[in-house]
Amino acid sequence: MVNPTHKKHIVGAHYGLADWLAQRLTAVVMIVYTLFAFGILLWHGGLDHAAWQALFANQFFRVATFLFMVALLYHAWVGMRNITMDYVKPLAIRLPLQGAIIAALVAYAGWTIAILWGAR
C-alpha cells in the first residue's frame, strides 16, 4: 500500500537556476565579443577583403570567435527550449521539435569549426 503522507510532488527538473545563470554568462561573453569585433572594425576604419581574410587567419581571433559561437549556440538552445515549452504543449510535437533544434545547433557548431579552421 502506498502511504498517502509520502506522496511525492515532482515539480520541475531543477535545471532552472543553472540555465538562468548560463543564459546570463553566455550573454556577457557575446556582449564582450561584439564590442571587441566592432572595435576591430572601427580601428581599421572598415576592412577590405584581404584584411578580412587576414583577420580570420589570426589564431586568437579564431579562438575568440569560436568562444562567441559556443556561447551563442548554447544561449539559443536555452531560449528556443523556453519558447517551445511555452507554446508547444503536445509532447509528441515538442520533443521532436526540440530534437531538431538541438540537431541544428550541433550542425552549426560543426559548420563554425569548418569555417574557422577548415581549408578555404
Binding site: 546570463r24 556582449i31 577583403h49 581574410q53 531560449g79 519558447i83 533544434i101
Partner: protein, 132 residues
C-alpha cells in the same frame, strides 16, 4: 457532507486578447526580445555562418557574394537581422542591469525600456543609411 461545501464559483471573465490589451513599453520590449531571439535562431545564425563563409572565399566567389548581398532584398533581410541583434542585445543588457538591482522601479524600468526600443531602431537606421 455540506459542511465544507462552498458556494458555486461564479464564472470569471477571462480577457487575454493580447492585441486588445494596452501594453506598457516594457511589455512591448519584452515581446520583441523573444521575437527577435526566435528570428536570430531561425534566420540569423544560418545567415551569419553562410555570410562569413562566403565572404572569406577566394576573390572570384567573393565578388558573387558581394553581388548577392548588394541586392535590395538581401539588404532588407540583413537590416532586419541587424535590428533583431541590436534589440536582443540591448534588451538583454537591460535584464543584466536589473539582475544587479539597477533600475527596478517603475519609472526607471519604463524609461530604460523606451531607451532600448529607440536605440535599437536608431542604430538600425544609421546602418540602413550606410548600406544605401
Amino acid at each position: 457532507m455540506a459542511a465544507t461545501q462552498r458556494p458555486a464559483a461564479r464564472p470569471r471573465p477571462v480577457y487575454l486578447d493580447l492585441l486588445a490589451i494596452r501594453k506598457p513599453i516594457p511589455a512591448i520590449v519584452s515581446i520583441l526580445h523573444r521575437a527577435s531571439g526566435a528570428l536570430l535562431f531561425l534566420v540569423g545564425i544560418p545567415a551569419l555562418l553562410w555570410g562569413v563563409q562566403a565572404s572569406l572565399a577566394a576573390p572570384e566567389s567573393y565578388a558573387s557574394f558581394r553581388a548577392f548581398v548588394g541586392h535590395p532584398l538581401a539588404k532588407l533581410v540583413a537590416l532586419a537581422l541587424v535590428w533583431a541583434y541590436l534589440h536582443h542585445l540591448l534588451a538583454g543588457f537591460r535584464h543584466l542591469t536589473q539582475d544587479l538591482h539597477v533600475g527596478l522601479d517603475l519609472g526607471p524600468a519604463r524609461r530604460s525600456a523606451a531607451v532600448v526600443f529607440a536605440a535599437a531602431l536608431l542604430i538600425t537606421l544609421i546602418v540602413a543609411i550606410r548600406l544605401w
